[in-house]
Amino acid sequence: MTTTSLPNPAVRAGWVDPPPRKGFFTDTSICIGCKACEVACKEWNGVPEDGLDMLGSSYDNTGALGASTWRHVAFIEQPARPAAPTVDLGMPSFSLPGAEADPADRTDFRWLMSSDVCKHCTNAACLDVCPTGSLFRTEFGTVVVQEDICNGCGYCVPACPYGVIERRGGDEKVVKNVGIAQKCTLCYDRIGEGQTPACAQACPTQSIQFGDVDELRQRAADRLASLHADGVPEARLYGADPNDGVGGAGAMFLLLDEPEVYGFPPDPVVTTRDLNDMWRRAALAAGTLLVGAMGAFLGRRR
C-alpha cells in the first residue's frame, strides 16, 4: 500500500499546503460495544436526542446513522462462527486452562460490534451534489456541513452511498438546525486545536483510532496481517483502498464479516463518477426535444 502517491483531497479542493489528511481507523475486532463513542459524540457536538425506541436488534437501539446520530454502534449476534483453518499438531499444551481455546470448544456464537461513522470520502457525493456550497472540504481533507448556509434542499441525502447524511426533522423550538443536513464533522472544532475527536478520545479499547490517513492505512494493513497470522482469516479491511468506488474513505474499518452484515454497502461507488455520461445523455435528449418540436411544425396545419 503506497502512502505517498495519494492525491490529498484538500489540495484538490484548493487548500494551499494543507496539514496531513485526517481520518479514523475503526478496528471492529476490539470493539466491546460500550457505545461510549455515541455518547461522547452527542455530548461534544450537542446532537439532539434521536428517539428512545427499543428496536429489537440485539443491543442496538440506535438503528442507523442519521441527522442526530453521528456514531452508531452495530450489534450482530451470529449463531455460527466461520471455522478457523487451524491445524492441530497434537502438541501438549503448557498454558493455563482456557488461555488457548480449541476452536472445536468454542461456543457456536459470536458478537460482532462495529462503530459506524461518516466515511469522509475522497470523492464525496454529498459534497459534489450540494447546490449551495454548504458542504465543503476542510483543510484536513474531511467533509463538513456549514449549517448557516445549508438551505435543506436534501440532495446530499440520497446522494450518499452509505446513507450517512440526513436532513434533521423535529420541532424548531426544541431542536437546533431543523431542516438542515447534518452529519459527523470529524470534530472539526477539536482537530483544529490539535485534539482528538470526541469518539476516538472516549473509546476505551482504541477500537476507534484517529490520525493521519496515510498512517492509519498502514496501521490497518499491519493489523490485518497480524489477525490473518493469528488465524482470523475472515478479517478484512473496508474503505482502506484508495482505488475503490469512492477513492478511499477517510474513515476505514477492519471487519470480521461481509460489509453488508454490518449495514455497509459492499461496493459503494460515488454517483458522480457517471455524471459526465449523464450530462451528455441529457444534452442529447434536450436536443432531441428541440429538433423534434421544430419538426412538428412541418406538415399539416391541424
Binding site: N151, E260, R281, A282
Partner: protein
C-alpha cells in the same frame, strides 16, 4: 434514528446459513413482477432470485427527503419547457391559439414549479443560497441556473399574452410586452428543452438504486414525457386549425417515452423491479395506458376538437403518472437494502471473475 422497515417481517434470521451475519433475506419476485417485453407472455424472470445479507433488513442508503413537490415539479417543468418550444414555433408560423396556450402554460408551469421547489426546502427562506455558487457536479445547481435564465424569459413571454386580457392598460405597456415577448419567447424555447431534460440527471445523480441505474435512458423518458404533456396541453388549448404541431409533438413524445421506458427497464436489471410494485407499479401502469390512449386519440382527433382535447388531457395525466411513478420507484428502491446490496455483490462477483480470468 430509524424505525424498523416492514421488510423485517419478511426477513428471517440467518441461522447456520452460508453467511450467518445480520439477517439473510431471499429476494423474491413480487406479485407485480416484471414481464419482459410485451410479446414474451409467460413469467420470465428479469434476474435470478438473489440471496443477500443485510443489517436487520434496514436500508443501506437513505431515501430522499423529498415530498410530492419534486415529482410535481418534474411534470410541470416538463410541460413548461415543451410549451415554450411549441409557443415559439407557433408565434413564428402564425398559429395564434397555439402560441397563447403555450406561453400561458409555460408561465403557469414554471411559476408553480418554482413555488414547489422552494416549498420543498428544509429552509425555504434560504432559497437564495442556491445562487451563491455554480457547480457542474451538482445537477441541482445547474438546474437552478437554467431556471434562473428560463424563468424570466418564459415569464415575459407569458406576460405578453396576459396584457392582452387586461383592459385599460397604457398603450406603452402593451406595446412593450408585445415587443419584448417575441425574443423572450425564443430564448425560452432554446432553454425549455434543458429544463425538461436536466431533471433526469437530478434524479440519476444519486445513490438511489432505481434512479441511478436508469441514468442512460431516463433523460429520453423525461423529454418524451415532457413532449407528450406539452403537446397534450397544446391540443387542449388550441383551435383545430392551429393544432397540427401540438398533435405531432404529442404523438412523437408519447412514442419516445414508451420506447425509452422499455429500454430503460431492460438496462436496469434488478432495480427495475420497484417500477412494477406498489404505488410506483400502479402509477407506471396508469401512465402506459393513458399515454397510449392519449397518443391514439391525439392522432385520430384532427377533425374533432373534443377528441383532441380528451387525448391531450390523457397525455397530461400520463405524464403526471410517469413522473410520480419514477419518483416513487426510486424512493422504494432506497428503502429496501436488496436493491443496494444485490447489484453491488453481483458487480464484485463479476470483477472477481475478470480478475481470475487474467
Amino acid at each position: 434514528m430509524t424505525t424498523l422497515p416492514e421488510d423485517l417481517t419478511k426477513a428471517t434470521a440467518g441461522t447456520g446459513s452460508r453467511r450467518s451475519g445480520g439477517v439473510e433475506v431471499r429476494a423474491e419476485k413480487g406479485r407485480g413482477a416484471p414481464r419482459r417485453g410485451r410479446r414474451g407472455g409467460g413469467e420470465r424472470k428479469m434476474v435470478p432470485d438473489a440471496t443477500f445479507t443485510s443489517y436487520y433488513g434496514r436500508p443501506v442508503v437513505k431515501a430522499s427527503p423529498w415530498a410530492a413537490d419534486i415529482p410535481a415539479y418534474l411534470f410541470l417543468g416538463g410541460v413548461a419547457g415543451g410549451s415554450s418550444v411549441l409557443a415559439a414555433g407557433a408565434e413564428l408560423t402564425g398559429r395564434n391559439s397555439l402560441r397563447r396556450v403555450g406561453r400561458l402554460g409555460a408561465l403557469v408551469g414554471i411559476s408553480v414549479s418554482f413555488a414547489a421547489l422552494v416549498h420543498d426546502l428544509g429552509r425555504p427562506m434560504r432559497f437564495v443560497n442556491m445562487l451563491r455558487v455554480a457547480k457542474h457536479t451538482s445537477p441541482m445547481s445547474v438546474g437552478t441556473w437554467i431556471l434562473t435564465g428560463y424563468g424570466p424569459l418564459a415569464g415575459l413571454a407569458g406576460a405578453a399574452e396576459i396584457v392582452k386580457f387586461v383592459p385599460n392598460l397604457p398603450p406603452a405597456v402593451t406595446k412593450l410586452a408585445a415587443v419584448a415577448g417575441r425574443p423572450a419567447g425564443w430564448g425560452a424555447a432554446l432553454l425549455g428543452p434543458a429544463v425538461a431534460s436536466y431533471t433526469a440527471v437530478l434524479l440519476a445523480d444519486t445513490a438511489t438504486p432505481s434512479w441511478h441505474e436508469a441514468y442512460r435512458e431516463l433523460p429520453f423518458v423525461f423529454v418524451g414525457s415532457a413532449a407528450a404533456a406539452s403537446g397534450g396541453l397544446g391540443l387542449l388549448g388550441s383551435s383545430l386549425a392551429d393544432s397540427g404541431p401540438a398533435r405531432r409533438l404529442a404523438f412523437g413524445g408519447a412514442a419516445v417515452e414508451l420506447v425509452a421506458e422499455q429500454l430503460m427497464e431492460s438496462s436496469m436489471g434488478l432495480t427495475a423491479e420497484p417500477l412494477h410494485q406498489g404505488t410506483a407499479g400502479r402509477l407506471m401502469r396508469a401512465s402506459k395506458i393513458l399515454t397510449v390512449a392519449g397518443a391514439l386519440a391525439a392522432a385520430a382527433g384532427y377533425r374533432s376538437r373534443a377528441l383532441s382535447a380528451a387525448g391531450g388531457a390523457a397525455l397530461l395525466l400520463g405524464s403526471v403518472c410517469t413522473r410520480f411513478g419514477v419518483f416513487h420507484a426510486g424512493q422504494q428502491s432506497a428503502k429496501d437494502p436488496k436493491y443496494t446490496v444485490v447489484p453491488q455483490r453481483e458487480r464484485l462477483k463479476a470483477a472477481g471473475r475478470q480478475e481470475a480470468d487474467r
